[in-house]
Symmetry: D3
Amino acid sequence: MSLAPMIEYEQASPEVRAVYDEIMAARKTDWINNFWKVLANDPATLRRIWENVKQVMAPGALDPLTKEMIYVGVSITNNCEYCTYSHTAAARGKGMTDAMLHELIAVVGLANETNRLANGYRIPVDGRFIPNS
Amino acid sequence: MSLAPMIEYEQASPEVRAVYDEIMAARKTDWINNFWKVLANDPATLRRIWENVKQVMAPGALDPLTKEMIYVGVSITNNCEYCTYSHTAAARGKGMTDAMLHELIAVVGLANETNRLANGYRIPVDGRFIPNS
Amino acid sequence: MSLAPMIEYEQASPEVRAVYDEIMAARKTDWINNFWKVLANDPATLRRIWENVKQVMAPGALDPLTKEMIYVGVSITNNCEYCTYSHTAAARGKGMTDAMLHELIAVVGLANETNRLANGYRIPVDGRFIPNS
Amino acid sequence: MSLAPMIEYEQASPEVRAVYDEIMAARKTDWINNFWKVLANDPATLRRIWENVKQVMAPGALDPLTKEMIYVGVSITNNCEYCTYSHTAAARGKGMTDAMLHELIAVVGLANETNRLANGYRIPVDGRFIPNS
Amino acid sequence: MSLAPMIEYEQASPEVRAVYDEIMAARKTDWINNFWKVLANDPATLRRIWENVKQVMAPGALDPLTKEMIYVGVSITNNCEYCTYSHTAAARGKGMTDAMLHELIAVVGLANETNRLANGYRIPVDGRFIPNS
Amino acid sequence: MSLAPMIEYEQASPEVRAVYDEIMAARKTDWINNFWKVLANDPATLRRIWENVKQVMAPGALDPLTKEMIYVGVSITNNCEYCTYSHTAAARGKGMTDAMLHELIAVVGLANETNRLANGYRIPVDGRFIPNS
């Protein structure tokens, strides 16, 4: 049904299995979700995206839960059904409660509204908001 | 230059001034940014949006900085110049460092990429990600 | 500054002039706005888009002002600066008042918010809303 | 299946029931659609959004049908399936005919096309379109 | 289930049949896909969109396969499920291989990421990139 | 004016210079455009994005010009001003003519229109378009 078939571990080439093994180890789980199984049709992209995710989502100045919630906010705004479900699940796994989910969605909704009020009226940016202006 | 003129405090009606006063008191500042000055052409909307912002952005299960960063993430995704500048400034006022801004933008960028990988391949959502499925 | 230069009437080929003449006649005006001057670099597209606009924006089951306001609502949602300014001006020329503009932008803002609430929570469509379901 | 369960009237708290009662009274109907049943998981948002909808969608300088059609135009542009179905149904309830729906969708389609022509060529806004410029 | 019923050839008016006949002849096929069957409820739009598609997608400075792949890239970015499936099928019919599809989706994903990095940081355009600047 | 300052070669750290050197060598040029100068504030992202661009935009099943044109199509759809200018310039450097640019923009415009016609009418995908369905 997807534009490329899902590659199961058993059928996977060694380079794909290597990525699957890393994902399962990093996530302390024994299954691979469909996103990676479809990307596996293009092993270079599978490896590349996994490396990106590892780097970007690692703990840093922002904690992993905050990063997941920003990810969910973007995914909702873009209407990515897959990503909304999968990153909401990931955020729950990192401690997001029901109350936090409701507040997250409320912020996303309001931001989408005021984005259009600002763009609709073509409001000029205040000089004080622009760094080094 | 905007589609409606900016209403300064001096010219404002009492109902508009009442909102301006609340905004300045809540933010402990003595100026009003352009967003509100343009909304003031439509006092019912000015009041309504201010009430929404107060409710949605108040501390709750999520802290105000996390909320601002989600706001920035949505605004970048929608390419709202005004909102990106103003909510980045607000987030900095609440403690966002340079390192946090870089990580925030990196997450937003990556989410926009993987949103299209998932939508592009039309990847079916894993049953485990769907609550009560 | 645009990706293609603006073609003025004086420099224009006969086929471009023919479209310009039709636009000015239809709009009872003596100037051509930049949108058409840039499309004129690709005369087939200039002719095609003008024919589309004439057909779609003609009075029909919806009056021209309602059509212009829907056009503005889409342009704001997509953040098209050119189209927001130009179709707002067109709507004003067809009778849109300040109060109507404010209500239009308020609807656009709210729709953008509730669109994300519905998409964010992944709310299933009620059977009653689906024709012939 | 949605990210939060649907709250039926029978299970609802008094504050949620109060909003449900207002919605049914305002719409002269005896059922509540899924949008509100999911928002009811977050009663403050349920109340807030209902107040927003009442204010923004009330008859004013624009009639309710025109507002619904603008709402549909935004929802199509953002690809909100839920909102496209529900607001089309609402517009039909307010008198939208088949012919009006076809023209509405045609305007939305064309606006999305010319938005990209204008943005694609990076066409500068004509000074005459900018108020007070 | 769609907002307008599908018009089969047998029920179609002569003007709709004329377009269907042209589509089948141009595509050397004996069936009509759902897109056209739904547009057929609005024969003027059916005719107009078919004329647009014929003109825009014809071989020219770009070959038809390149055009189809650009079409797919836009459709993925906008999350149009129908268009992603139908134009991917069209591109395959014109010679797109699995490897080409993977590279196409990879480019679309990356472009969506860097679009947000550029918009997020509000990076000013280099003068050298602007024609005639 | 951007949210982070531009890092010139002279001020850059060795790790940033290393990426700048690679970019200039790969592109056979002696300057660095603003995109990279701003990313340089976050050296890990600078390195990561450059590695992604090198991998994704390399010649493969698709030639580099086709990839650039898909990139432009996405950037126009998302209204990324920076990316539209910079990738149009890149495409011209790889041989895109005026006629090709016009056709590219025409395809992008039309795809954006038909995306909304398909989403607006909620047209079901034909079974024949879905692989392995």
